[in-house]
């Protein structure tokens, strides 16, 4: 009787592990390998527009055809590195803003009765019911010279001429913070919800001031959620293409746009692939480090 049961469990385990592995293999690993392969090709005018990695000639073994042209191009001057730094700066500012806005919102939500918490959670998710594109587009209507915000400011006499807000870094920042705020709120909320409130009460009983409680009790406990939120906002914000294209001016050259230029204007799929791959590596490394940190803090939590 014992054996079939464990067999059943093993079979179940296999499915449980096999499905996501298959998914990752087909939709993550395979495309990634294609991009890797493409990044070592050279752009040509053909269909597809890059050289083949393997040349099946006369011999038994194919000739390997590897070019480092794309990678050499990336470090040739400060064109690509400058754009990367600009993107990272923008993403850092945007992520900090989302965190600063999300934290007080979530702290307030946690203090509410359960019924209200649910209503507010729905309100946070509600914008996802309309297309992302339409939501970014509506910011154009709000920010333009004859837009809602300028009209209100003019009406109350706070300004004499409309403030040019659209097509600026400021507009891009608003767009990113607005679009990614839910991705910061949700992990923070989940983290705070799990927090044992008795610890906060204990700190209060021992005479800690609210700020001390926040920094020495709450923050160390919800640290993993904050990191999860930062990852969810920072990574897409760095490569963001749509928001700067719709709301941004021409004064910024971001890495997402550079990939677009390589792909569409230069017809250079290999260089576009190389940039995408380097971005991925740049993100994967800190992610692995952060992951280690979170694990450590979790272990520490378990010890407590």
């Amino acid at each position: 009787m014992k054996k079939p049961l464990s067999n059943k469990i093993n079979w179940f385990k296999g499915v449980l592990l096999g499905v996501p592995s298959l998914w990752l293999a087909v939709f993550l690993f395979l495309p990634l390998m294609l991009i890797l392969k493409m990044s070592f090709a050279e752009a040509i005018l053909a269909q597809p527009p890059f050289t083949a990695l393997l040349n099946w000639g006369e011999g038994l073994l194919p000739e390997l055809n590897i070019s480092f042209f794309s990678y050499a191009l990336l470090i040739e001057d400060n064109y690509y590195i400058g754009a990367l730094l600009q993107s990272l700066t923008l993403a850092t500012i945007a992520t900090s803003c989302t965190l600063l806005i999300a934290l007080p919102m979530v702290l307030a939500m946690i203090k509410m009765p359960n019924k209200w918490q649910n209503i507010f959670l729905i309100l946070v998710i509600l914008p996802f019911w309309t297309s992302f594109l339409i939501r970014v587009y509506s910011w154009k209507i709000l920010l333009r010279n004859d837009g809602f915000i300028n009209q209100i400011l003019l009406y109350f006499g706070l300004i004499n001429d409309p403030l040019p807000m659209l097509y600026s870094q400021f507009a891009v920042l608003i767009g990113i913070v607005y679009s990614y705020l839910p991705f910061m709120i949700l992990p923070l909320f989940a983290g705070l919800k799990k927090l044992d409130y008795a610890l906060v009460e204990a700190a209060e009983d021992l005479g800690a001031k609210p700020l001390t409680i926040f920094f020495r009790v709450i923050l160390p406990l919800i640290y993993p959620s904050i990191i999860a939120g930062i990852i969810l906002v920072f990574i897409p914000a760095t490569g963001e293409f749509v928001i700067p294209d719709l709301l941004g001016g021409s004064d910024s050259l971001l890495i997402g746009k550079l990939i677009w230029i390589e792909f569409f204007n230069n017809r250079d799929w290999p260089t576009a692939s190389a940039i995408a791959l380097i971005l991925l590596i740049l993100f994967a490394l800190p992610l692995l480090i952060l992951n280690k940190f979170t694990r450590k803090s979790q272990k520490w939590q378990d010890l407590v």
Binding site: A25, V26, L45, Q47, G249, L253
Partner: protein, 366 residues
Amino acid sequence: MKTYSAIKTTLICLAISVSANGAMASENKLNIYNWSDYIAPDTIANFDALTGIETTYDVFDSNEVLEGKLLGGQTGYDLVVPTASFMEMQIQAGVFMPLDKSKLKNYANLDPEIMQLLAKHDPGNKYAIPYLWGTTGIAYNIDKIKQRMPDAPLDSWDMIFKPEVIAKFADCGVAIIDAPSENFEIAQNYLGLDPHSGAEADMDAAIDLWKSIRPYVRYFHSSQQVDDLATGEICLAIGWSGDMFQALNDAADAGNGVKIDYYIPKEGSTIWFDVFGIPNDAKNIDAAHKFLDYTMDAKIAAANSNEIWYANAIPSSMPMILDEIKNNVSVYPTEKIKANLFIDKPGDAATARARNKAWARLKAGS
């Protein structure tokens, strides 16, 4: 074991998609991929009724989107409509199949002058049938320009390239089309240089000209100016003629008091052609030729021009074209303006890369 099943699944998926493709290739079907808002509303229906062909009509809104698909291959389309400067590279990449002119009895209807210009993109006129054509020029908000500069040079590139002139309009918003090759050509032509030269000195001169007026430009974009001109967000723009007419009409429809006009600068500008081509993997080749022949019919060409305000390449359609279109020198330029128009030549890969890089830097102001 895992790898094996992964391969198997992939093969099954492939098999399904291949058979689905096969099923689509039945006779009497036609898949067209054209620009959005770029045909009279009844053209497709009339064609289907006449020939019994069942046409699927999809739209795109940028050459880049179309090219991305074409270079990838297997688009499933039988007719696509790139701009000729893009098609030039796509022909070299082997994307298109040569036309069978014996199936095109209306081929003689095409304007020989346009076919000659088009041959600079498509040598020997082997692959492309011109659909509609236009120019790149300047659109402006009449009231806002007159108010800031009553004697504005509204027939010349001086509006853009003279810093002391464009500076007057910086406050009401200037937008420049985000098309590197055209912007180099326009600037080089304005400076009296060969517009298509890829020589470093010529390109540097063009960039210096753009740099001198960069501070007065609000943004560089290829489609935003349509909306922004119509709502009054900007007052001066370089754009493609058809887009600018759309802004003009949108403003008139909105009744917001914004009045837009468009002109082709006298120093000369680019002329472009949107052309039909048959991708080399098209399945319904006969039907595609039938549709091409249909669009070259004078009556059909006139109907399309009347609907969307673009010039066509069929001279015999002129008598049927509305007066306000055929007498509009911004749609059908005078011979004098026409003589100064030049085509947009994308140049070789190195030139294109150098232009795109210099242009990206100029935009970012570095």
